[in-house]
């Protein structure tokens, strides 16, 4: 079972880099909560529970290092959100970054949106490599010169300086969400974006911070009647009037903003029929969709529920076209997973650039990849033990019962504290970023 996923037959995933501390005692603030490549793949952003954003930039490929692609090094880091206190509810508002989304690059600066539970911020990351020297009214230290001493006039000149990368908050979009923001998504019109919380979805204009349009509201008049919540939302990659949102009941609704100002009535409703005889206490919980992502082509979308990943054709609402089991062996462990709350873990999923492969995380620092064309799948592990430069990753296997083969790991030995919830795939190349608690792993394919 060779690693032929995501590329041709000669394909192998190799370790490239790992970022973060090695210490056993992980500070809560260091737990990575989101990972996202920008549109070109040149930049890779992470957000953590401490409200900080770290952006890595890929170095230019040097002629000497032909065997590997450019490495990602720290480009900028800043404190995006701080903890706040909601006075009305006496609740703490966590500074944890729930999502980062990059805007498409339109000039020399880079822009990203970062969101915690309540507030979205637009950050501008820009480079400064020149400095003006030779001011008339102040000297090089910045102190004002004595006006009576100035006898000549000069034109300041721009001199090169060491590169400085500055991050500044350009917009703060606040006070529009009563519940916790789970998703943000930039629209293909590059002017608007949506933000979704448990019960509502708002549409914003990137330039306007003091108001937003509410486009979906599923809050019942009587909260006792609440049966489902919004779990994720995304704008269509090409059709700026289309977006989807998923629910805790395993359904996806596609909405068209041209149809009405309030999109409470969906245009399409995606749900896989369930066999009523197999229904159990856990059915609804494990059907809850934790992530929804459109394919780059815009023809398909992928949903992640607790045990599987499903690919849906937007033209077919009654069932997914592909279903991939991520860790089916956990079905016989649901009782303990409910007791330790793991059953509520929210795994994300992602497409590769060509939509031929999908990736999602699991437990024990395992992550899974599925090749849609060959139907092959592979389980890999993000581990410091396998972190020599360009070391090939060995496929991992979980043994479900009976005899455990060498190199296999039994279900009961899995570490459920080592969860890979966030992964990202470079938009064009076979480079992936995997967040394992407080460490960020970068893997690349081996160039043959």
């Amino acid at each position: 079972m060779m690693a032929g996923v995501g590329g041709g037959n000669d394909f192998q995933w190799c370790f490239s880099q790992v970022k973060g501390a090695i210490d056993e005692d992980v500070a809560e603030a260091d737990i990575i909560s989101t990972v996202e490549f920008n549109c070109s793949g040149e930049l890779l952003a992470t957000g953590d529970k401490g409200g900080r954003v770290v952006i890595f930039q890929r170095e230019q490929e040097s002629k000497n290092r032909l065997l590997s692609r450019g490495e990602y090094n720290v480009y900028s880091t800043f404190q995006s959100h701080e903890p706040e206190f909601d006075y009305l509810k006496s609740l703490e508002i966590e500074e944890k970054i729930n999502k980062i989304r990059w805007l498409p690059q339109q000039n020399a600066a880079h822009f990203l949106l970062s969101a915690n539970d309540k507030t979205i911020k637009l950050w501008k990351i820009s480079e400064r490599d020149k400095r003006a020297e030779g001011y008339n009214l102040k000297d090089e230290d910045g102190r004002l010169r004595d006006q009576f001493r100035i006898t000549t006039l000069r034109v300041p000149v721009l001199m090169p300086m060491d590169l400085m990368v500055e991050a500044s908050p350009r917009r703060i979009f606040a006070n529009a969400h009563t519940y916790h923001i789970n998703s943000i998504s930039v629209n293909s019109d590059y002017e608007t974006y949506l933000s979704a919380d448990d019960l509502r979805i708002n549409l914003w204009h990137l330039e306007i911070t003091d108001r937003s349009f509410n486009i979906v509201d599923i809050k019942p008049a009587n909260m006792e009647e609440l049966t489902e919540v919004i779990t994720a939302a995304e704008c269509h990659p090409h059709q700026c009037n289309v977006f989807v949102y998923s629910s805790s009941k395993g359904t996806i609704r596609l909405c068209d903003t041209r149809a009405a100002a309030l999109c409470d009535r969906h245009s399409k409703f995606f749900e896989e029929p369930e066999d009523p005889s197999s229904r159990s206490f856990f059915s609804e919980i494990i059907s809850s969709i934790s992530d929804v992502k459109f394919s780059h082509s815009g023809r398909y979308m992928m949903t992640r529920d607790y045990l599987s990943v499903k690919v849906w054709d937007l033209n077919m609402e009654n069932r997914p076209v592909e279903t991939y089991q991520v860790h089916e062996y956990l079905r016989s462990k649901l009782c303990s997973l409910y007791e330790n709350d793991c059953i509520f873990d929210k795994f994300e999923c992602c497409w590769n650039g060509s939509d031929s492969a999908i990736m999602t995380g699991s437990y024990n620092n395992f992550f899974r990849m599925f090749d849609r064309n060959t139907r092959r799948d592979i389980t890999l592990e993000a581990s410091r033990e396998n972190s020599k430069p360009r070391a090939m990753l060995k496929p991992r296997k979980v043994c479900t019962g009976g005899k455990r083969k060498k190199d296999e790991i039994s279900v009961d030995s899995l570490d459920f504290n080592k969860k890979i919830l966030h992964t990202a795939w470079h938009p064009k190349e076979n480079v992936i970023a995997v967040a394992a608690t407080n460490n960020l792993y970068i893997f690349q394919d081996k160039i043959n």
Binding site: K19, G20, A21, A29, D30, I32, T46, D48, G50, R52, V54, V74, T77, Q79, P83, F85, Y87, K89, S90, L91, E92, I93, E94, D117, Y179, H180, D198, L199, M223, E224, E225, L226, T227, E228, V229, S248, K249, S278, S280, F281, F282, S283, E284, I285, S288, R331, S332, K333, L334, C335, Y338, E339, N438, L440
Partner: protein
């Protein structure tokens, strides 16, 4: 004789159920441990708990006290060396705890 045959077919049925649906076995386990578990599991209680995630404090004073305690724990050991202000002496600026801790950079950015 006949009782034995009946029992074994029941057992067989149970075994079949377990094989066919590991989920149902797990459900039975859970119900055995928590007999009072509600009949509508995905319903309002679970969802409402989800909507109200986040630690609740009595008021903003309680919140700021909790934050201060956490920050004091994270301060470097220099703070621990300072003697406690008991009210016996007039505190100097060096004695007072810092109002705002300097932000700690992410370890990913090292």
């Amino acid at each position: 004789m006949s009782g034995g045959v009946e029992a074994s077919t029941e057992e067989q049925q149970e075994m079949q159920d377990a094989v066919v649906s590991p989920e149902k076995t797990e459900e039975a386990k859970l119900k055995a441990r928590y007999p009072h578990l509600g009949t509508k599991p995905g319903g309002s209680d679970l969802l409402r708990k989800r909507l109200q995630k986040g630690q609740k404090y009595f008021d903003s004073g309680d919140y700021n006290m909790a934050k201060a305690k956490m920050k004091n724990k994270q301060l470097p050991t220099a703070a621990a060396e300072k003697t406690e202000i008991t009210g016996d002496h007039i505190p100097t600026p060096q004695d007072l705890p810092q109002r705002k801790q300097s932000l700690v950079a992410s370890k990913l950015a090292v």
